[in-house]
């Protein structure tokens, strides 16, 4: 589904991502974990083409998408839920959701049905449809961001730190919805600092450190890796 080959991204002369390669096979959940500043957000922004100055290859659905415009990439089904949620605070919850339909060729009647399905996953949003999205709590905003992403009908959904700033119990809700979406057929690329949660949910994981991928393996094997345990899970042996 997605194949990243030798990707390097620079901000001016700072190299934020250095020659990384990884793969996201169809139907899987792939986690990309790492500490602050490792280059995770940079990687996702490059994949969705928000960042332009990149070298290497990003093959999505058989095409190299480097240098394309972000709205075109989104229309191909590569949907990015950015770090910090980025809902539209002064649009209502409903407007935030309907905006997902604008680039799709779908009858509004059918879209409404999809919206009802999404409300089943996130019932809170249904109650708050008319409210300005900026007045939602942090957890609700994250739900809205995910719901908005689902309604874009992604083939591949990339999520950047969906657990950031949320209480542990809400984090569980969020991860539950992510696995649910995946079971319904959407491939997921998940970026997290919360390595424990991400690797438990993932089929396969990559660990990033200062712009490079230093480890990879199945979710379970990375969770048991002594280095991962020490650095990312805060366990002392």
């Amino acid at each position: 589904m997605l194949k990243v080959e030798g990707l390097t991204v620079k901000y001016g002369n700072i190299t934020a991502v250095n020659n990384i390669s990884f793969e996201v096979p169809q139907g899987k959940i792939i986690a990309l974990v790492g500490n602050n500043g490792a280059g995770k957000t940079t990687t996702l922004k490059t994949i969705s083409c928000l960042l332009k100055s990149a070298n290497g290859k990003i093959i999505f659905d058989g095409n190299d998408i480097i240098g394309q415009q972000p709205h075109k990439v989104a229309r191909q089904g590569l949907v990015h839920i950015p770090e910090g949620r980025h809902i539209f605070p002064r649009l209502t919850v409903k407007e935030n959701l309907t905006i997902s339909s604008f680039s799709r060729t779908i009858k509004f009647k059918h879209f409404k049905k999809e919206m009802e399905e999404v409300f089943e996953i996130f019932p809170k949003l249904k109650e708050r449809q008319k409210q300005l999205a900026g007045t939602l709590s942090g957890g609700e905003q994250q739900m809205l961001a995910i719901a908005r992403g689902i309604l874009q009908k992604p083939k591949l959904l990339t999520l950047d730190e969906p657990s950031m700033g949320l209480a542990p119990i809400i984090v569980e809700d969020v991860f539950e919805s992510i696995t649910r979406i995946n079971k319904q057929g959407t491939t997921i690329l998940l970026v997290e600092q919360n390595a424990q949660m991400a690797l438990s949910a993932a089929d396969f994981g990559y660990v990033m450190e200062v712009g490079e991928i230093v480890l990879n393996g199945s979710g379970a094997s990375l969770l048991n890796d002594p280095n991962v345990k020490k650095i990312y899970l805060g366990e002392v042996d």
Binding site: L50, P70, H71, A74, V79, H86, F88, L91, T98, F102
Partner: protein, 290 residues
């Protein structure tokens, strides 16, 4: 006397409001003060004048053509003058806007000369007198047109898909593009809408004063900017009220003080508002951009 001034103020204020909305739309979507907007107002009047008085075309066709061409000019101005410096310094955007203004004014002067021209009287003025209050049918047409345009704008922004996309772009363009929306297209549409309103205002003013001149956009542009600042630039309802308010202030000061001071008064008010409440009279702390 007071009622008369209020009526005159309302008429002129409605026109200021239409022009001011162009400032607010550009500011809302790009955070940009488009000082060339007054020239679109002038172009609207001159293109309508050309189609009607020189080519003798059908009046409705001419009016529609004038606003549509101005909409296109707005799109071109954004692409040529603002797109490449969208993320640049405010000062370069300002200079670019002033440059566009000079270019458009000079094009107008070369095309139509620097003389004041009579605007075609497509409506025969009728005066209605109630006691000592004089109302012209023109005033009613101007007010009605302005109200219709503002209601249409409101519906467009708040009840249509394009409107949602415009407001989303003004809040967060990057995320809007992640929604599969072509942000450049939305920005073009926004400039077209603002320019259509400005051109309509120019035509209404041409009718009202029945003369047009190549630099007519300068003062009105500045005043509309004052109106936008008054109401809170970026804030749609605030801008509408700001325009009306400025119209009142002008006509009341013209009636009770002296018409010579009305322009000075407008700018004095702007300075006071900027000092006392920089977000505008109707602006809140967090400005609702578009």
């Amino acid at each position: 006397m007071l009622f008369q001034q209020i009526l005159n103020g309302l008429t002129i204020g409605a026109v200021y409001a239409l022009v001011a909305l162009g400032y607010t739309l550009a500011y809302g979507i790009l955070g940009l003060i488009n000082f060339s907007h007054g020239e679109i107002y002038m172009m609207g009047a001159f293109i309508a004048f050309t189609c009607i008085s020189i080519f003798n075309w059908n009046i409705w066709l001419s009016l529609i053509l004038a606003v549509v061409i101005c909409g296109l000019i707005g799109i071109v101005v954004e692409i040529v003058a603002f797109r490449s410096i969208r993320h640049g310094a405010r000062s370069s955007q300002l200079i670019s806007a002033i440059g566009v203004s000079i270019v458009l004014q000079n094009i107008a002067m070369l095309t139509w000369s620097s003389r004041t021209q009579p605007f075609p009287q497509i409506i025969t003025t009728k005066i209605i007198k109630i006691n000592d209050i004089v109302i012209s049918n023109l005033q009613i047409y101007i007010l009605a047109t302005a109200v219709i345009l503002m209601v249409t704008l409101y519906l467009l922004l708040y009840k249509s898909r394009i409107g949602i996309a415009i407001r989303a772009t003004s809040q967060d363009p990057d995320t809007t593009s992640l929604m599969g929306i072509n942000v450049n297209k939305i920005i073009s549409i926004t400039f077209a809408v603002g320019s259509v309103l400005g051109a309509a205002a120019g035509i209404l003013m041409g009718l009202y004063y029945n003369s047009i001149v190549f630099n007519m956009g300068y003062t009105v542009g500045l005043k509309a900017f004052v109106a936008a600042i008054l109401g809170g630039i970026g804030n749609i309802p605030g801008t509408m009220l700001g325009g009306i308010l400025l119209g009142f202030v002008e006509s009341i000061s013209a009636g009770f003080i002296s018409s010579q001071y009305k322009d000075a008064l407008a700018f004095l008010i702007m300075i006071i508002v900027l000092l006392v409440k920089p977000t505008g009279i109707f602006g809140t702390k967090e400005v609702e951009k578009v």
